[in-house]
Symmetry: C2
């Protein structure tokens, strides 16, 4: 299998990305096409002084432009037709690669995927999902920012798409919840109330409303919400986790005894960090596009990039996009009926 990596995205530069690609090659024996400024990339590959057998699994495809993190997606892909992300999805369109991974501008990645590959049959609004660590196994939340103004049918389809994706993590009959502000039926805003009824009539394993408090408990496998809410949950969580760690560190620094205590407990802190570290999970899958795409956090290190590439491989192996269209086919009539 061959996956394309947008080698110009991300905050840490191409060497981190290439290292991630090499880790993926070593672990899964796949082939990777690095897309970007080929001269520039070749220098970085040479710098890494890797085994020639590994390097032979990497190929290079040139792209003369790069889309910045702050550019407006639709506008950017229109202007920069030779950007690394557009070229990467063109390769997928041509059948040269089976998936694309990027740590660049997420809106532009989704827009490029849609421009080059289009949507899966029946999908009204493709979106972006993300795995969240919990006290038990991770939960998939969709949408996390691609669709900020949603109608019930959009949310309903997010539930179908995220359920299909969870097969990648070997979750059978995923329990699906809708994010609301109370667990009882009938609680929520008007979007939630209508979507609730559609989900109830669907073939999904729908368990009803879940509250914000339940997100990290791990008693649900898929949570749907509109992209405005999902993005805020994601970013509030990142911000809070960081703030908690900073406050704890500043309190520990105030006393010598506490510093000694921290030193003794350090391996526990490290194990804890590994449990909540998003680099342990893959990236965020683009769901509903007629192909395979993963967008990673800009701050993804090599480990995170490797995991995202392996996630793309699993999405292809599990045929997530066909599963989505089949499941929508099954649920289409019921959805339209509502």
């Amino acid at each position: 299998m061959r996956i394309a990596l947008d080698a110009m995205g991300g905050d840490y530069g191409p060497e981190e990305l290439i290292t991630g690609a090499i880790l993926a090659v070593k672990q899964a024996g796949i082939e990777i096409t690095l897309v970007g400024d080929t001269d520039f990339l070749r220098t970085h590959i040479d710098n890494l002084k890797e085994d020639s057998r590994v390097v032979s699994s990497l190929s290079l495809v040139h792209a003369s432009e790069v889309i910045g993190m702050d550019e407006y997606p639709v506008d950017a892909i229109r202007r920069k037709k030779n950007s690394s992300i557009m070229v990467a999805f063109e390769l997928q369109k041509q059948g040269e690669v089976e998936g694309v991974v990027s740590a660049g501008n997420s809106g532009a990645t989704l827009a490029a995927a849609l421009r080059k590959l289009g949507r899966v049959k029946h999908v009204v609004r493709p979106g972006i999902a993300s795995m969240f660590p919990t006290l038990k196994r991770p939960v998939v939340i969709m949408d996390i920012g691609a669709n900020v103004d949603c109608r019930p049918l959009h949310l309903f389809q997010f539930a179908v798409m995220a359920s299909a994706f969870s097969s990648v993590y070997d979750i059978e009959h995923p329990r699906v919840g809708i994010l609301s502000i109370g667990e009882e039926t009938g609680k929520g805003n008007s979007l939630v109330k209508v979507t609730y009824e559609m989900l109830q009539k669907s073939s999904l394993n729908f368990i009803g409303n879940v509250e914000g408090r339940d997100v990290y408990k791990g008693d649900v496998d898929v949570i749907v919400c509109d992209g405005f809410v999902g993005n805020n949950i994601l970013k509030v969580s990142e911000g809070l986790a960081e703030a908690i760690m900073q406050m704890l560190a500043s309190e520990i620094k105030k006393s010598l005894l506490a510093k000694l205590g921290y030193f003794l407990a350090k391996p526990a802190f490290k194990r804890f960090k590994k449990r909540v570290d998003y680099t342990e999970y893959g990236g965020a899958p683009l769901l509903g596009i007629n192909g395979t795409g993963i967008v990673c956090h800009g701050k993804s290190n090599a480990q995170a990039i490797k995991n995202a590439i392996l996630e793309a491989v699993k999405m292809v192996e599990n045929n997530v996009k066909d599963k989505i269209s089949n499941d929508l086919e099954k649920n289409q009539f019921r959805a339209v009926e509502t």
Copy 2:
């Protein structure tokens, strides 16, 4: 000054609430009316064996009914006219008390306040705000759950009301942000985009979009969002903080050395807990009602109840409700114009 406390609300029962009232009496020399089943409450007061001078600052008013946490607010206040929360706001209406504090059903508390006191002039939708701890000073977020489907004018008024409330915490010219999914102007859903323009034309100290990531940084004093988003942010934060502490504890328990380390660092952990503990802050103010009301977390302990009562006192002293109507008067024209 006299404040009424709904002595039948909350998860920990009347003794915890009465203890909170006594702490407030001792600290601020105010008088408190406990509303509930008077026989029942008198027994609890006697159990506490408090100094008679302190007890003389507590008076009792009978209410024969209680509204449960899961009852539908509007329906509940219609059926239970003699519930503790309805009687408490009736006392405020009659001028017997200047504020009401409750740890009961928050929706019913707001509904009772509106039924008895009505709205402040110009207010379209009263709501509930809450203080969030941050790395610097706390931030006021509004709305946190009373209004789940909002129009731009509602959000705009939340900004005016929450700014007026922040005077209670001695914050002058509070920096106001609108929660969005990107810092740049023009990012957000349609509700945010229209509200943004209204805020820009207002007399408020508007600093633009803030992201979820910024909530806990403390670089903004007031954040506005609709009640669906606000409630989810609040509950996701509570759930995440709990999950982080549980994961950390479970990792520490795995090794004897880590346990010893934790023991040595315990005072630092305690100081940290105090910093993020919501019981250190007051309750959540009802803003836009023509009076003073605070609703507390169901799990409020005596300390939290005391702080909520003192917050109500400060709201009365700072004349928050008149400040709200004045500020809306000033901004009304501009708001309607948009």
